[in-house]
């Protein structure tokens, strides 16, 4: 009896409240929406518009010339080369780390997760500096490397190492929460039925994590291609040789070649927009 009356009271009071008291007055809603839109417009839309307008300010010819001159082309090539090497390595690492952390129980798991996230708390400049301390001329392995005529700093291996350092967490961070919610039952069933380890991974695990994996890979790629601070420290800024696209933009900008700087910047902005679009497609896919 008593329970029923409580429920009745709740129902009637809910009807009384309706929707009006659960929403803010329309004026408040208008103000909050306007504040948000203005903030996003000023901080996100305007910078993006500025990039494209400045890039095309001197016309299409200058734009095309800026992105096809030899130094720009070699910067684009180097950036793609670094991404082609660094992204698969950190993807492989992300899968291995997520597999160990989510499919098994062991002590020190939290420590390991913290360790994977560590690069997020390290300034990109420091990420570059530590490799100079290791492999630079005065570094720990400096003499050894010069004896064998191997160059890491101010050349491609250094750029790759710095890029790997800053993007270590990207794939692992996407996969760990995803694989945690999926548990181990499906894989255990597959193994019990006699499937091999590789088959189980490819046929059972991979289909379950493919969208999360793709998202992690795309974020990792965007950061590798766009990394500035860490790469700036180890690259040595040799034009046409060790300048990636972001470093090339800096050089052009400091030489007051604004149109050319923004032309290359517009290419990188397209990459960013592409990354965001893929992210939204993946989110839409996983909701389905």
């Amino acid at each position: 009896m008593e329970k029923l009356t409580i429920e009745q009271t709740v129902v009637t009071s809910k009807q009384k409240i309706g929707n009006t008291t659960l929403k803010e007055p329309w004026l408040i809603r208008l103000i909050l929406t306007t504040i948000s839109l203005l903030f996003l417009l000023i901080f996100l839309v305007l910078p993006l518009v500025t990039i494209f307008i400045t890039a095309f300010k001197k016309g299409l010819d200058v734009y095309i010339a800026s992105i096809t001159e030899p130094d720009a082309l070699s910067a684009i090539k180097l950036t793609l080369l670094v991404a082609v090497i660094a992204v698969p390595i950190n993807t492989l690492f992300g899968i291995a780390a997520a597999w160990a952390i989510t499919k098994f129980n062991f002590r020190g798991k939290n420590l390991l997760t913290t360790l994977i996230d560590l690069p997020f708390a390290v300034s990109p400049v420091i990420a570059g500096l530590v490799f100079i301390l290791l492999f630079g001329a005065e570094g720990l392995f400096g003499d050894l490397l010069s004896n064998y005529n191997v160059q890491i700093i101010f050349s491609l291996p250094g750029i790759i190492l710095a890029s790997l350092f800053v993007t270590v967490p990207f794939v692992a961070r996407e996969l760990i929460p995803l694989m945690q919610t999926q548990g181990t039952q499906e894989e255990e069933a597959s193994i019990s039925l006699g499937a091999g380890a590789l088959t189980t991974f490819l046929k059972v695990t991979l289909p379950n994590i493919k969208w999360g994996l793709l998202y992690g890979v795309i974020l990792c790629n965007a950061r590798v291609m766009g990394e500035f601070g860490a790469v700036s420290v180890v690259s040595g800024h040799i034009r046409g040789l060790t300048n990636t696209m972001p470093l090339h933009i800096e050089v052009l900008y400091n030489e007051y070649q604004f149109s050319a700087a923004f032309a290359v910047a517009s290419l990188m902005s397209l990459l960013a927009l592409f990354t965001i679009i893929i992210k939204n497609i993946i989110e839409w896919r996983t909701k389905q």
Binding site: S36, F39, I249
Partner: protein, 277 residues
């Protein structure tokens, strides 16, 4: 029955533990731990006197103050506007909402150098926004705060947004049916639930801002004592081949970042205890 670190506790039929944990640990040791330990190793080569002398130099101290001050203010701005944006994106409907929601990730995806030159062009004295103001924005600490706000925005929005999305309206209904007005419901019922997410967002934005380099160097003006951030000072020392100097300053910055993460985790833990019923 003692289990050592990184040893499997329970038997499972799944394969690949030794391979995956072995690769993970080896990779992290070579790529993260060994390089970072160089920072401590090289600092230990310095005498205590020299170390203190480097890190307490007036130009270095000015850079700490600037870096911490601007990072803190930018994170506060992001907490305020980021929470409003998350609220509006979850609770209201308007034209272009999907587009705005997607754009919030732009600072994650846009290379920092690109963000840096775009913001500088906008806020320079002759830029679209810069020429609206009677005082200088770019090449002053205000410009640094703007760049750091740009970089930190998604951290707050993307941590608060999912909490609001999963928030059950039942407690709001209960609060309203008990006679609380909307503002009281927000302050007493909704806001306490958001505090952990807001703190996490603040911490992420703050610690990212402390180390940020690419988006800031273009807009900052980089005047020693005035607009020179700590990461840039490390870079300057490196370019002068002053490795001990760069290393000593770097270790102070690194330890500060770790301390902030630690302190915020403790606050988070206390807040969780206080508000969990």
């Amino acid at each position: 029955m003692t289990t050592t670190f990184f040893h499997k506790k329970r038997l499972t039929v799944l394969p690949g533990f030794k391979l995956s944990i072995g690769f993970t640990l080896l990779y992290l040791s070579i790529l993260i731990l060994l390089p970072l330990s160089m920072l401590f190793w090289n600092t230990m080569q310095l005498s205590w006197h020299d170390f203190i002398k480097i890190i307490s130099d007036s130009r270095v101290v000015a850079s700490y103050k600037l870096t911490f001050g601007t990072s803190f203010l930018a994170a506060i701005i992001n907490v305020f506007f980021g929470t409003i944006i998350a609220w509006v994106l979850v609770r209201y409907d308007f034209v272009g909402k999907k587009l705005m929601d997607g754009l919030v990730d732009l600072p994650f995806a846009l290379p920092t150098a690109v963000a840096g030159i775009a913001l500088t062009a906008l806020y320079a004295p002759n830029g679209w926004i810069g020429n609206l103001f009677p005082f200088k924005i770019a090449f002053t600490p205000i410009g640094i705060i703007i760049a750091l706000t740009f970089i930190g925005l998604p951290f707050v929005v993307r941590t608060v947004q999912p909490v609001l999305q999963n928030f059950s309206t039942e407690s709001e209904e209960a609060s309203a049916s008990l006679g609380a007005n909307r503002w009281k419901t927000f302050i007493k019922v909704i806001f306490p639930e958001l505090i952990p997410a807001i703190l996490t967002g603040f911490t992420l934005a703050f610690s990212r801002a402390l180390g940020e380099y690419g988006s800031v160097v273009f807009i900052a003006g980089n005047m020693p004592m005035k607009t020179e951030i700590t990461p840039l000072l490390i870079m300057t020392k490196l370019e002068q081949y002053d490795y001990p100097g760069a290393t000593a300053i770097a270790i102070v910055l690194l330890i500060s970042s770790f301390m902030i993460l630690l302190i915020m985790n403790i606050i988070q833990w206390l807040a969780n205890r206080k508000y969990s019923v």
